[in-house]
């Protein structure tokens, strides 16, 4: 068959005219008009195809095929053009929806725990990971549990170390230390014991940048066969590394608390200074290289005996740490009074 029959020429002309017209359709409405004009029932192509019946049978098949080829070409061109226009129209629509992303967001009201509650929760999480259980005991406490059971009878010189607020002298006090839970707990539990007690404490102290009359402590206690100062050091070091900063160095210094023997003060290395070569003017450690963060020691044999544990069989370690002190070190807070002034501008920083 010749490539240039009148029919073929007509089809080519129809196709060329239609494609040329398609190129000037710029939106979906124009496209629909084009579809009706070129692929509908009454179109130049339909006209050509309508005349196919007049052809010879053998020519008719070839012509029909050619006409269909044109139709498919036009359909394909339409689909392609539709896709281009749809994409263009979508992007135009999206452009109209553009927002100023720098306008303020619509913030849900977001509250926070007080920094002391947050610090307690962090400490408790860490210590629970080491198998310590949590307990709480009364804040208004018997003098017996706060002092007597802890090897501090009424006349004891160690009473000088803490000024006590009495609810009713001499038997009812605002507890001066969370250590007061020890007697209550140990009399109801046999070793092994691993327990911590967070809570509020009170002392009749003058208030300044580092002293508050109300403050929080977390007291810890572990009793079993064979515990030593090395277990205490390991426990506190692991705690400090998680609470403060990694690669921490720790130190014991002899100190006195009536309910432990030996008694020690536990210090961590300053995060800015090398303890062996501390910076004289360091605002964190004041040039010592060390930050004393808590008092600790081996549970006094008299305390063990008092609760019915055999001090020849069991040993234990205990510590008490000031939550405010820990938070002050961790967050660089210079004045303890900020905690209970409840200025939201301070509290809201602990997000």
């Amino acid at each position: 068959m010749s490539t240039s029959t009148p029919l073929a020429d007509r089809l080519a002309a129809v196709q060329a005219a239609a494609l040329a017209e398609l190129g000037s359709a710029h939106d979906s409405a124009a496209l629909e008009l084009w579809r009706v004009a070129h692929l509908g029932r009454r179109t130049p192509l339909a006209e050509v195809m309508g005349g196919l019946g007049a052809l010879a049978k053998d020519e008719r098949a070839a012509a029909g095929q050619a006409a269909n080829t044109v139709k498919r070409a036009l359909e394909a061109a339409l689909a392609e053009r539709e896709a281009v226009i749809a994409a263009r129209e979508l992007s135009a629509a999206l452009e109209r929806e553009r927002v100023d992303v720098t306008l303020p967001g619509r913030a849900p009201a977001l509250g926070r725990l007080h920094p002391i509650s947050q610090t307690i929760a962090q400490c408790v999480d860490i210590l629970r990971g080491m198998g310590f259980q949590v307990t709480q005991t009364p804040e208004v406490e018997l003098d017996y549990y706060n002092f007597e059971a802890l090897n501090i009878p009424a006349w004891h010189p160690a009473r000088d170390m803490q000024d006590t607020v009495y609810v009713q002298h001499p038997s009812v006090v605002l507890r001066t230390q969370t250590t007061a839970y020890q007697g209550r707990v140990m009399t109801t539990q046999q070793p092994p014991v691993r327990i911590i007690a967070p809570g509020r404490c009170y002392r009749a102290e003058a208030v300044d940048a580092t002293h508050e009359w109300m403050f929080h402590q977390i007291d810890g206690l572990a009793v079993d066969v064979g515990f030593s100062l090395a277990d205490l050091k390991g426990t506190l070091t692991a705690f400090a590394e998680q609470m403060f900063w990694p690669n921490i160095r720790t130190r014991f210094r002899c100190d006195y608390f009536p309910f432990v023997e030996p008694g020690v003060d536990f210090a961590i290395s300053c995060y800015r200074c090398d303890p062996d070569n501390a910076e004289a003017g360091c605002a964190i450690c004041h040039g010592s290289g060390w930050l004393e963060i808590l008092g600790a020691g081996m549970v006094h044999p008299k305390v063990l005996r008092h609760v019915g544990y055999d001090p020849e069989k069991y040993t234990g370690f205990a510590w008490g740490m000031g939550v405010e002190r820990i938070a002050m070190i961790k967050y660089g807070i210079e004045d303890i009074r900020l905690f209970y002034a409840n200025d939201l501008r301070f509290l809201e920083q602990f997000a």
């Binding site: 949590v134 307990t135 010189p157 607020v165 030593s228 023997e261 081996m298 044999p301 200025d343 509290l347």
Partner: protein
């Protein structure tokens, strides 16, 4: 305890090359924390010894002198107003350009004459407290020498823990340095008190209360001449923080600081008859050295003559028998007292004397004779006269024949310290501290406790500390904790987790947690307009006192009582924040107290919430709106939901609250607390202007008790639900709770949800009526509901609404 190093060196041969920094560090690590070090003269510049070689009245001033100085070949002219200058006096002179602790010294013109530098008082140099004249140095001081080379010293200020009264002395600290460094230690030795007159012929002592006074030692020095002590002694006392007074008194203080045994000196002429030690009799009084007349009680120990009490034993002497410049014969007392009695007496009169501090912590009874003998011999050196032969030493406590031996397996020390120390090093350490050590076999030590450690060493744990602190804790390894975990405790975590959950729920609801003081003004309930301790309706307060529990020794009246509720504290915090912002949304969860002390009061956890200002919303989009009743109610509901507690709200006329905007919070029949808007009168009392805050206060213990455990959860239905709305018109007075309850009740069992989505008043709803619209959801867990099932259930709901709350269902014929 302030310890001059020169004094310490009299008892321990410290290596002069040992740096001060190391000395300080080692004492501190061993438990004797050196809080401060004063190097005398370190805050001076160019202060020299000079001799006054000429002294003239200032030609133009009545009060000034012109002194010509010789400072070792260097001459100078200084103008001074001091009254005690004389030719030949040796004085401290600051050259022009020099410095004193509080001033720079230059050359200045004093009424026409240039003064080259200045002469200084002891106070200006901080080598004495005297500020009335120029410090006159000892004659031996070489003109031209630097002053610090004459009067210099290094003073360690050591914090002594209450368990170590033995270290409240120069000898005690020297002994520690001996143990720490190995430097030779010289025990103070007992001076021989020879003489013509036996002490017993001059003084008699009788102890009526041997438990209160286990030992009383005394002697007499006759013919003393009162006057100032030598300058070196005065300076030592000053460096140690004790004021020099006169030779006889200074000796008692000096010996106390040196040995740790407080002493008392009586003017023998002022005592009548012999000395008796006893408890005070009711009604007896004593005028003490500070001029106060003290009413004594029968638990106080007194030293009496034939007339009555002459001193409050171990605490303070009596004015009557006080040493004066005219005293000729001195009675020196060194005694031992019962610690508890001394502490009671000192605290009863709030007298914290150096003596009372030592006796209250424990003074070794073995010291008394040594100290009295040392004081007698020193008094003669400083004040002349003659001491009696020997001592009167009444020592009923000696019958006890005090000894203490501790035998133990040395492995127990390793077991406590977590590190094994060499046994010879252990023994040497203990011996240097004064313990006797015997080693009956390879494993064991038998340790004899010295008398000076009788108050703190009883057990092998105490000896472990001695070994640990002297040999150092740096060798203690860090062990990872191992071993058996404890059994669960019967009370779980004693509520810690509940509190944390509540805090986190409230924080998630947008509130900031605050922590306020547990002590409040006793009048706080009145400020909240409640007579009761706790601003919660009387139904929860049955049998409670209507006042707060007072504390015995409050820090101030604002902190005079245990708080019974949190609202007052929370409102105070709101008010202080309103000074710098418009909106405050806070809560506190804390303990409160009420009830009788039996012996402890009832301790109860409460939660309080306060909201004021606007909802935090996007202001530029116009979303901010004032916080109101339904904000605080929604938060309380959220809190209750997190504990799986269903709450109901009943109007209340609580006096703290707005009469039309207050509700009781109930769980079933139990009242958990209240919520509402604070009464404007109460808000004003708390200094809150503008709209009064919305608050809630509820009993957290009761909330937790009402909490249902989460035991079994339902599987969500796989079948579709059917939604229907119902709109009704009803009387204004019918509360939402009644409508909701009618719907929920009638819709059972297919109704799974009913939520109010509209409340409308006004045309076309008639006056006195309101329109409400609810969206209802019907669903079954085992099937798709048929249309007629839903219709039947919905009709039941509509019927119930007509019947129960008199509603007219809109869009339905009545």
């Amino acid at each position: 305890m302030k310890a001059p190093l020169s004094w310490l060196r009299e008892f321990v041969d410290l290596d002069p090359a040992l740096p001060l920094k190391d000395l300080r560090h080692r004492l501190t690590m061993a438990g004797l924390e050196v809080e401060d070090v004063r190097v005398v003269g370190s805050d001076w510049r160019d202060v020299f010894v000079a001799r006054i070689v000429d002294l003239q009245k200032h030609p133009k001033s009545e009060t000034l002198w012109v002194a010509t100085l010789d400072a070792g070949g260097r001459a100078a002219t200084v103008v001074s107003g001091a009254p005690n200058l004389r030719v030949g006096a040796v004085v401290p002179w600051v050259v022009p350009g020099g410095r004193l602790p509080k001033m720079e010294i230059g050359e200045r013109n004093l009424v026409g004459i240039a003064s080259q530098g200045m002469l200084c008082s002891g106070d200006e140099l901080d080598i004495s407290t005297d500020r009335d004249g120029i410090y006159l140095l000892e004659d031996g001081a070489q003109p031209g020498a630097r002053l610090e080379d004459v009067v210099g010293d290094v003073v360690l200020d050591v914090y002594i823990t209450p368990n170590r009264p033995d270290c409240m002395s120069i000898v005690g600290i020297a002994r520690e340095l001996h143990a720490l460094t190995g430097a030779a230690f010289h025990e103070p030795s007992m001076p021989e008190l020879g003489g013509a007159t036996p002490a017993a012929s001059l003084i008699s002592v009788r102890i009526e209360d041997p438990l209160g006074c286990p030992r009383f030692t005394a002697t007499v020095v006759q013919g003393v001449h009162g006057g100032p002590s030598p300058l070196a002694i005065q300076r030592r006392l000053h460096y140690a923080g004790v004021r020099a007074i006169s030779n006889v008194v200074d000796v008692t203080n000096y010996v106390m600081l040196e040995l740790g045994q407080p002493l008392h000196a009586f003017d023998r002429a002022r005592l009548e008859g012999g000395i008796t030690v006893r408890r005070a009799r009711p009604g007896e009084t004593l005028r003490t050295l500070d001029g106060e007349t003290r009413r004594l009680s029968d638990d106080m120990l007194v030293v009496c003559d034939d007339r009555g009490p002459q001193s409050l034993a171990g605490v303070m002497g009596g004015e009557d028998s006080e040493i004066s410049t005219s005293t000729q014969d001195v009675v020196l007392e060194g005694a031992s007292w019962d610690r508890a009695s001394i502490r009671r007496a000192a605290s009863a009169f709030n007298l914290g004397s150096e003596a009372a501090r030592r006796f209250g912590r424990g003074v070794d009874p073995e010291l008394a004779a040594l100290a009295v003998a040392r004081a007698a011999s020193m008094t003669v050196q400083l004040a002349g006269g003659q001491h009696a032969a020997g001592l009167v030493d009444v020592f009923p406590g000696r019958d006890v024949n005090w000894t203490r031996e501790i035998t133990f397996d040395t492995a127990r020390i390793d077991g406590l310290l977590g590190v094994r120390h060499d046994r010879d090093a252990m023994a040497t350490t203990l011996e240097r501290l004064g313990f006797g050590v015997q080693r009956p076999d390879e494993r064991r030590f038998t340790v004899a406790v010295p008398s000076h450690r009788r108050f703190d060493v009883e057990h092998v744990a105490d000896l472990a500390e001695e070994v640990g602190r002297i040999l150092g804790y740096d060798s203690v390894p860090t062990n990872a904790l191992s071993g058996t975990l404890p059994r669960p405790r019967p009370d779980g975590d004693a509520g810690f987790g509940d509190e944390l959950r509540a805090r986190r729920t409230l924080a998630a609801a947008g509130l900031q947690e605050i922590i306020t003081y547990s002590l409040v003004d006793h009048d706080e309930p009145a400020k909240l307009d409640v007579g009761a301790a706790w601003p919660v309706p009387p139904s929860t307060l049955a049998g409670l006192p209507d006042t707060l529990i007072r504390v015995d020794n409050p820090l101030s009246s604002e902190q005079g009582a245990l708080r019974g509720g949190l609202l007052g504290s929370v409102l105070t915090a709101v008010q202080s924040n309103l000074r710098h912002r418009d909106s405050v949304q806070v809560f506190e969860l804390a303990r409160t107290w009420r009830g009788a002390l039996q012996p402890l009061p009832e301790e109860r956890r409460l939660v309080a919430i306060a909201l004021v200002g606007n909802v935090i919303g996007s202001a530029w989009q116009g979303e901010a709106r004032p916080l109101d009743f339904f904000d605080v109610k929604g938060i309380v509901d959220a809190l209750a939901r997190s504990f799986r507690v269903d709450l109901a709200y009943v109007p209340t006329a609580h006096p703290t609250l707005h009469p039309g905007r207050g509700a009781e919070i109930r769980a079933g029949e139990q009242v958990l607390g209240v919520l509402g808007q604070v009464h404007p009168r109460v808000a004003e009392r708390f200094g809150i202007d503008g709209p009064a805050p919305y608050v809630a206060e509820l009993d957290f213990d009761a909330l937790v008790a009402a909490s249902r455990p989460l035991e079994r959860v339902a599987t969500p239905s796989r079948f579709p639900s059917a939604d229907r709305d119902v709109a009704l018109v009803l009387d204004e007075a019918v509360p939402h709770a009644a409508v909701e309850s009618a719907i929920l009740h009638a819709g059972q069992p297919l109704l799974v949800r009913a939520s109010l989505f509209d409340v409308y008043r006004g045309e076309p709803v008639p006056p006195g009526k309101k329109s409400m619209a609810f969206a209802l959801t019907y669903q079954a867990s085992d099937r798709t509901l048929a249309e007629d099932e839903v219709a039947a259930a919905h009709t039941r709901v509509e019927d119930a609404l007509r019947r129960a709350v008199g509603a007219e269902i809109r869009g339905r014929a009545a």
